[in-house]
């Protein structure tokens, strides 16, 4: 009697969690099909060539133009800036924690950095409007600091925890025999770090960077608040930009249902989806290579 009940529970739990698992695949597929479906509808109105080459995003009206180029350049600019800041800082911090810091300091730093990842993006956006923006404005003598640089600084802050944590894990996972080997031939810490540890952990570090890039590309609220969202073609770090994510967030609420403009937002979302998918796949690829290498 008891045994039968136990087996029934076992069966039920198995079915329940299998359903959850399959549901995730279903949702992912559903999102992809939804994006694709609406994107196809968009391309029935606008030629793909125009979409990718037109240098203006000016939806609606008689002279509507749906060029994704300025949005892509904006997203790239902000992401690139963020990575230029976050990669050296992140790897440096991870290396410090793994190789130089005392155990006590490391045990304080690590949870703190992980907590930084938990700060809501809206709060980081505030930071951009209240502190980073005005400082940039003051330094560059501009009317306001809502530009690509502001967004890049904030995204760097948001990508840092990911980059630091994953890099630090990669460095820690290296067998201590590598360090011993290097020290035993007379190398100091810095030589060991630069010539043995970082090259050996390279796949893990690249994975960390990819995850950081993925975080930066897909972030919406922060860039929406900090970059000014001017729809003109972006001219550089000190000019206002409008990323793919911000464009969707701003326009989706007001666009009339099933118009070209409506479909266009799905099309740029599909492009974003493909970019983040590729970045994540690349990250995953390097993480796997890293694991294989560890086993050897």
């Amino acid at each position: 009697m008891k045994l039968a009940a136990r087996e029934a529970i076992d069966r039920f739990v198995k079915i329940l969690f299998r359903t959850t698992g399959l549901l995730v695949i279903g949702i992912l597929g559903g999102i992809f099909i939804m994006l694709l479906w609406n994107t196809v509808s968009f391309f029935l109105h606008i030629k793909p060539l125009d979409f990718f080459t037109a240098n203006q995003w000016n939806p609606g009206g008689h002279h509507a133009s749906y060029g994704i180029l300025p949005l892509m350049v904006s997203t790239s600019l902000v992401t690139l800036g963020a990575m230029l800041i976050a990669i050296p800082l992140g790897i440096g911090t991870a290396a410090f924690m793994s190789e130089y810091a005392s155990k006590r300091l490391r045990n304080i730093l690590k949870p703190m950095i992980e907590m930084l990842a938990a700060v809501p993006s809206v709060a980081i956006g505030f930071l951009g409007i209240v502190i980073v923006g005005p400082e940039i404005a003051k330094l560059t003598h501009q009317a306001n600091g809502l530009n690509a640089l502001n967004g890049a600084v904030l995204l760097a802050i948001m990508a840092l925890p990911t980059i630091i944590t994953v890099t630090e894990d990669a460095l820690q996972a290296l067998p201590s025999t590598y360090r011993e080997a290097s020290y035993s031939v007379g190398a100091n810490r810095w030589q060991t770090l630069r010539k043995v540890i970082i090259p050996s952990a390279a796949p893990g570090i690249i994975a960390a960077i990819m995850l950081g890039v993925g975080r930066a590309i897909g972030e919406t609220m922060t860039v929406l608040m900090a970059t000014g969202n001017a729809s003109a073609f972006p001219k550089g770090f000190f000019h206002s930009v409008r990323t793919i994510t911000a464009t969707i967030a701003i326009e989706m609420g007001e666009v009339p249902y099933q118009t070209t403009h409506y479909y266009a937002l799905f099309a740029i979302a599909a492009v974003l989806f493909i970019i983040t998918l590729l970045v994540n796949l690349a990250g995953e690829y390097f993480v796997n290579r890293y694991r294989k290498y560890q086993a050897a």
Binding site: R179, E180, A181, Y183, S184, V185, G186, A187, V196, Y293
Partner: protein, 253 residues
Amino acid sequence: MSEEIIKLSAQGINLWFGNKQVLKNVSVTFPERKVTALIGPSGCGKSTLLRCFNRMHDLSPDARIEGKFMLENQDLYDKKVSVTQVRKRVGMVFQKANPFPKGIYENINYGLKINDVPSKERPGIIEQALKESYLWEEVKDDLKKPATRMSGGQQQRLCIARTVALRPEVILMDEPCSALDPISTRKVEELIVQLKEQYTIVIVTHNMQQAQRVADKTIFMYLGEVVEEGNTNDIFNNPVKELTKNYVSGHFG
């Protein structure tokens, strides 16, 4: 034993990891151009003692060391001595072969670069080191091959080549054959016997036969203390202490 010169010595060594005392008033000497084996059951402190001589414990913040380590007339822990200088003079081969994840050539080249050996001299030194460790014939056609793709025995001989390339005076070996098959072990042992013509060698081993095959002098340690030291032949065939006798005849450990 004939006249021997003391190359390396330790005097009155006490070592703690945190609150745990691992070495208790250890005093040992190692004769020049001889192989000395450190034997004893696991946890008796022989590897710990070995690692003192090239200051590997500098990396563990909870290690505390008392006593004097001398390489000829040089105090190894003198504040004026740089640790990299110590490690250049006292090389080390580890229990598990630990080549860098680089090519064969680069594995040896790394230590030479670190120690500022002029780049013109390096290829010659690398070839010489590979020949001395009897690896040259096996690898000369593909020096760029990743070291991690060599066999375990080849990797360990590469680690020895990496060490001898720096022309140290002393080579410390921490159970260098424990992960190797009998044939590779034989090759490494032959190499050790060859190397003692130029270097002073200290080897930690769990293998009694190995100690008898390669070592001139043997030191038996137990629970952090030196129980008995002497000529290898005497230690194994004619030990003074009961404890030594029990250990070398396999009654415990």
